[in-house]
């Protein structure tokens, strides 16, 4: 129960920050961090998949509503939620039982965490930028935007993660 409440609270805080602050940041003119991805990445993995999709869809909907980019963030975060379980399975490798529930630095090692965050933020930003541009005509510019956005997003997410969920001293 406590876990549910903290997840809801996290979504509220992250979405407000995203809508009012992060969506208005354009570093170097185009890099915009998708902070709300944090709440999606921290969702418990044992939630039913359909619930995860609905949550991703709803979060994207709120962000899209304020950014007037109908459908872009919805589709991107939906795809992230779809890919996430498979990525976790891949990253966990053989020892599937170890800390499946909480993908945070205290539970997972640095390499796991970095791959998880970087791959998913790249995926998310790839779809956001490509759907916004909806053409391959200016692929060079889009590619630059994807790289800048995903690097910035991953950086912000990793900073927040390591500040709020500090890695425990090695056992």
């Amino acid at each position: 129960m406590n876990n549910v409440l903290s997840n809801i609270l996290r979504f509220a805080v992250v979405l407000v920050l995203q809508v009012f602050i992060c969506s208005n940041i354009h570093l170097f003119g185009f890099a915009t961090p998708a902070l709300y991805l944090l709440a999606l990445l921290l969702l418990p993995l044992e939630l039913p998949k359909s619930v995860q999709y609905l949550i991703g869809f709803a979060a994207g909907f709120v962000v899209d509503m304020f950014a007037y980019t109908y459908g872009v963030n919805m589709a991107a975060s939906l795809i992230v939620m779809f890919v996430r379980p498979y990525l976790v399975k891949l990253l966990n490798g053989r020892n599937t039982t170890e800390g499946v529930d909480r993908p945070v630095p205290g539970v997972k090692d640095t390499k796991w965490m970095f791959t998880y965050v970087i791959v998913l933020s790249f995926l998310h930003q790839f779809f956001v930028v490509m759907l916004e541009a909806h053409s391959f005509r200016h692929f060079g510019y889009s590619l630059m935007a994807i790289v800048a956005d995903s690097v910035f997003t991953a950086f912000v997410l990793l900073c927040v993660l390591y500040i709020f969920y500090p890695a425990r001293k090695t056992r």
């Binding site: 998949k49 609905l54 007037y68 459908g71 919805m74 939906l78 779809f82 909806h134 005509r137 200016h138």
Partner: protein
């Protein structure tokens, strides 16, 4: 039958994923077509007020009042510029029309007002701007919009308290412009991609255009007054279409830092439009 239900239940999450993805892509597709822009208005009416109060709060932190006073002073000065008036000979006819006290022989053709940007995009294929003034503040369709540095766009849609602007960074926006020293008329258009560069079309190949030449509004459209800066020539090359030059224009307005915009109304627009309505097409 049971197998089918079982199959469906097992893969329910996948069907849900597909349905949600289709929903979001349909929304995306609809928002691209301008005729479906109504759809966006529903959101605008719910989200607009929240965004307005937020931008007002930000405004308070950024020397809002000081800025406001300067904007108003600027506007008063711009209203008196010569391209706001049309000159009339002092004849019986002109004496019957209304005249301005400062310029007894000239008639005011354009008037200014200003507004603040509350929503703005630059990195999409179709870019719109929303301002915090609407019908109640006297904003109407087809008013010209300029920023402190140069031309911004044209008002496309007006609601009670807000108005949306098609910025230059929109494929539908076409602005009639002249290249400064030779005064040749062309059209400024934008293609998606870089928000600081547009193209000047319809300039014949035999003309000599130099890099750095100013591109100004022509005043032929009845929307923009004459002589507002659009940008400067950045690159000139011979296009694929042999008869015209391909001219890259560096836009004067920095669309990423747009806060205050000025709206210009042509006071005689309806009169001019009725004249134009009688033109024969081809």
């Amino acid at each position: 039958m049971n197998n089918l239900i079982e199959f469906f239940r097992k893969n329910f999450h996948f069907f849900l994923f597909a349905v949600l993805l289709v929903v979001s892509l349909v929304m995306l597709g609809k928002s691209l077509a301008y005729s479906e822009y109504k759809f966006a208005k529903v959101f605008q009416s719910t989200v607009g007020p929240i965004q307005k109060s937020w931008s007002e709060m930000i405004h308070r932190f950024s020397l809002g009042q000081e800025n406001e006073d300067l904007v108003r002073q600027n506007m008063a000065l711009m209203r008196e510029q010569s391209n706001m008036f049309m000159e009339k000979e002092d004849t019986v006819l002109s004496m019957m029309s209304e005249t301005d006290s400062l310029h007894p022989k000239s008639v005011r053709l354009y008037d200014y007002t200003y507004a603040h940007v509350i929503y703005n995009t630059t990195d999409q294929a179709f870019n719109y701007i929303i301002i915090d003034k609407g019908q109640r503040d006297g904003i109407c369709r087809d008013m010209a919009v300029t920023g402190p540095k140069g031309v911004v766009g044209v008002v496309s849609d007006v609601s009670n308290n807000f108005a949306s602007i098609i910025s230059i960074l929109h494929p539908d926006s076409r602005i009639s412009a002249i290249v400064s020293p030779i005064n040749q008329v062309g059209t400024v258009v934008w293609e998606s991609g870089d928000p600081s560069v547009a193209y000047l079309e319809n300039i014949p190949q035999h003309l000599e255009i130099n890099i750095g030449d100013s591109v100004l509004t022509s005043g032929y459209s009845n929307i923009f007054p004459k002589g507002l800066l659009v940008g400067t020539v950045k690159e000139v090359s011979v296009g694929k279409n042999a008869s015209f030059l391909t001219i890259k224009v560096k836009l004067a307005t920095d669309f990423k830092r747009l806060n205050t915009v000025y709206l210009i109304e042509n006071l005689y627009k309806s009169e001019l439009d009725t004249l134009k309505a009688n033109f024969k097409d081809e």
